[in-house]
């Protein structure tokens, strides 16, 4: 009987449970068409990066499966493959397979056997005409090379552990300088960027929330000290602080980038959370909690925190976008993720030189993926803020 009396959902009592903040917000969010579309896009990106993280897709992004700079499928006629631009290949008079999609080039810049291949090719007179068959191209040197490679063992950067026999002329999204699939790379890059963005945002949010809670709740000396700390970090322009820390931390890696961004980006969260705690700490429910003997920490994080968590959530969402953008710049400059990890930033870095040669697909892929995710995430954040705090609108 007692349980029935407490349970507000009991229809017998005739009391309908009034919807809480979250269910109301969810209702408002669902009614917003832009919010729903952007949420679906963000979730799709998250699934994509989870799948990549667990190696379900794009695991083999490092494999060289196509010819160098293989064009995207849709534009296969618009570009001459890189092979023809090489001085060595210029003498190669073998007939092209079909129009512009020409002979694959078996020489790879990073291949430790490059010299050997060129020499052997010269000896063979290049006229074995691998391309004549048109359908299945077999490198006449493949056997010799595999043998040599076995002797050489695994090569330096793992670039050469590919059998060079079958290389595609074009890929859905094209290929990069080494013939790696741009689609796989851009998916792998999404994983890195999203992972870094979320991890750094979580670090910054936790730091900003905890410090802000202490400053706002305790006030007095604690507040002064933390405000001093805040003023130090906020007086140095964000990007300068990031670069200064990047200069000091020598180790490159995903963790370093997360730390750099997280340790510098907490200031605006601190300010907002502090203001919320100032507002809430004198409210009746907190005094009631005090009266029943809840400790300070309990009042701060069990009683007050759920009431301000919507502010924190919006900030978290805002910072994911900010940090994804920052990570791209850091990785572009070479201060971000290590070379063996692909990120949108490192793809943009590679595409700089490719563009001058006319290979625009890597730039396009990284740009479009990033722009779609960031736009969707920004729109979602705006909608989330409006849904959680309708007064703001």
């Amino acid at each position: 009987m007692t349980t029935a009396a407490i349970n507000p959902n009991n229809p017998a009592l005739g009391i309908e449970r009034s919807p809480g903040l979250w269910s109301l917000a969810w209702k408002r969010l669902k009614a917003d068409r832009i919010a729903v579309v952007s949420m679906v896009i963000v979730i799709a990106f998250l699934l994509l990066s989870f799948a990549a993280f667990f190696g379900l897709i794009a695991k083999d992004w490092n494999k060289e499966i196509a010819i160098n700079y293989a064009p995207p499928t849709l534009f296969k006629d618009s570009h001459k493959p890189a092979a023809d631009l090489r001085p060595g290949a210029a003498t190669d008079a073998g007939p092209a397979v079909d129009g512009a999609a020409a002979k694959p080039e078996f020489i790879n810049d990073r291949d430790p056997l490059r010299e050997v291949i060129i020499e052997l090719k010269a000896q063979l007179g290049q006229s074995t005409g691998a391309a004549d068959s048109g359908i299945k191209i077999v490198d006449p040197l493949a056997d010799v090379l595999t043998e040599l490679r076995k002797q050489l063992g695994r090569t330096g950067d793992g670039a050469a552990n590919v059998v060079e026999a079958k290389r595609l002329d074009y890929l859905p999204f094209g290929a990069d300088k080494w013939g790696r699939d741009v689609l796989a790379k851009v998916i792998q890059g999404s994983e890195t960027s999203i992972l870094v963005g979320f991890a750094a945002a979580i670090v910054a949010t936790i730091l900003g929330t905890v410090l802000g809670a202490f400053a706002g709740y305790y006030g007095g000396k604690t507040d002064d000290a933390l405000n001093w700390f805040y003023s130090i970090f906020s007086s140095i322009p964000y990007i300068l602080l990031v670069l200064a820390i990047a200069a000091v931390l020598k180790q490159k890696g995903v963790v370093t980038v997360v730390l750099i961004l997280g340790l510098t980006g907490w200031t605006s969260i601190f300010r907002l959370v502090r203001a919320e705690y100032l507002k809430h700490k004198a409210r009746d429910y907190v005094r009631a909690a005090n009266a029943i003997g809840a400790s300070n920490l309990r009042r701060m994080f069990v009683h007050i925190f759920p009431n301000i968590s919507h502010v924190v959530l919006v900030q978290l969402s805002l910072h994911v976008v900010l940090f994804i953008k920052s990570e791209v710049i850091l990785s572009f400059l070479g201060f971000g993720v290590p070379v063996d990890t692909v990120s949108w930033g490192s793809m943009l870095n590679e595409s700089q030189n490719e563009l001058i040669l006319g290979y625009w697909w890597q730039l396009a892929a990284a740009t479009v993926f990033m722009a779609v995710l960031v736009t969707a995430f920004s729109l979602f954040t705006d909608a989330l803020r409006d849904a959680l705090d309708p007064k703001l609108k």
Binding site: F229, S231, P237, L240, L243, L249, G334, F335, L348, L355
Partner: protein, 312 residues
């Protein structure tokens, strides 16, 4: 007024002390021993000891901190570790190029952003307004790197309208030839967020009673928007401008790097790449100081813009 300025300057001291401590902690404690780095790969202990002595890092931490404070106060950070150029000299020679891009950018950006924001705030809620906001969101989502790469490739390399990169000696040559494309790119990048921001500032004002009164008096819409609304929205706009000002020096680092503009931002990137600590330390400390002074200047400007503001 004077008392206010003095008090505010006095308040800068503890923050400045904190900035110095933070930078010291980063570069002298976390940064570790740069002697190995400077001595190169082949080095004997004697050389390393020598370098340490030269840099003053064989001293205890409190002594190093004192040296650092002295450097900050006397503007004397010694020479760059990689080029041996005196750090103050680096500042003096790199500043003009950064300002050459930064000042025209700030002026153009403010005028254009305020005008567009006024226009979209005036037609708030309409299709134009929403279209403009979506455009801004999308424009903001594209990385600044893409703008630079594409604009440089298309406008400079392909069409040849601007030099691909470089910097000259003459003032006019620099401003109209070499700085033009960097300013254009920076303008495109910074317009989107600023239009959105200024629009919200203006929207806060357009629903106020005084706007209705102004209209009731029969003032023209132009006068209402440009004189009444804009003047009242100018406080947050000025704050935003002032906050941007110091960051502008280093904020243009990517553009300066791509276009080989010999400015402060490019110098910072080079310094980070070369682990050139004195340069980074100096830039960080003085830019932080500039930020605090800019905040003070913003507060003083409030008073000029809005006589109701009382400086306490």
């Amino acid at each position: 007024m004077l008392a206010y300025i003095i008090r505010r300057l006095w308040q800068i001291l503890p923050t400045m002390a904190g900035v110095i401590l933070l930078i010291f902690f980063l570069f002298n404690v976390v940064g570790g021993d740069p002697a190995y780095l400077l001595a190169g790969k082949i080095s004997n202990p004697e050389q390393i000891a020598n370098i340490r002595k030269q840099l003053g890092i064989d001293e205890p931490y409190w002594m190093q901190l004192l040296i650092f404070v002295k450097q900050v106060v006397t503007f004397d950070f010694g020479a760059s570790w990689s080029t041996n150029e005196v750090v103050s000299q680096i500042f003096a020679t790199r500043l003009p190029a950064s300002l050459m891009i930064g000042i025209p950018l700030l002026i153009l950006e403010t005028i254009i952003a305020v005008c567009i924001a006024l226009a979209v705030a005036y037609v708030r809620g309409s299709f134009t307004d929403r279209a403009a906001m979506v455009t801004c969101t999308v424009a903001q989502s594209v990385s600044i790197l893409v703008y630079i790469i594409v604009f440089q490739y298309v406008l400079a390399y392909k069409f040849g309208w601007f030099p691909v990169q470089g910097w000259g000696n003459g003032f006019l040559e620099n401003l109209f030839k070499f700085a033009a494309l960097p300013i254009l790119i920076a303008l495109v990048v910074s317009l989107a967020p600023n239009i959105r921001l200024y629009r919200t500032f203006l929207l806060d004002e357009v629903n106020q009673d005084y706007v209705r009164t102004a209209r009731a008096k029969g003032l023209s819409e132009n006068r209402v928007m440009f004189v009444h609304v804009l003047r009242n929205a100018s406080i947050p706009i000025i704050t935003n401008l002032m906050i941007q000002l110091p960051g502008l020096l280093v904020g243009l680092f990517l553009i300066e790097r791509f276009f080989s503009v010999p400015g402060i931002g490019r110098e910072v990137i080079l310094a980070v790449e070369r682990s050139d600590f004195p340069v980074i330390k100096a830039v960080t400390v003085y830019v932080a100081l500039a930020t605090m002074l800019a905040n003070l200047a913003a507060d003083l400007l409030y008073k000029a813009v809005d006589p109701r503001v009382e400086l306490k």
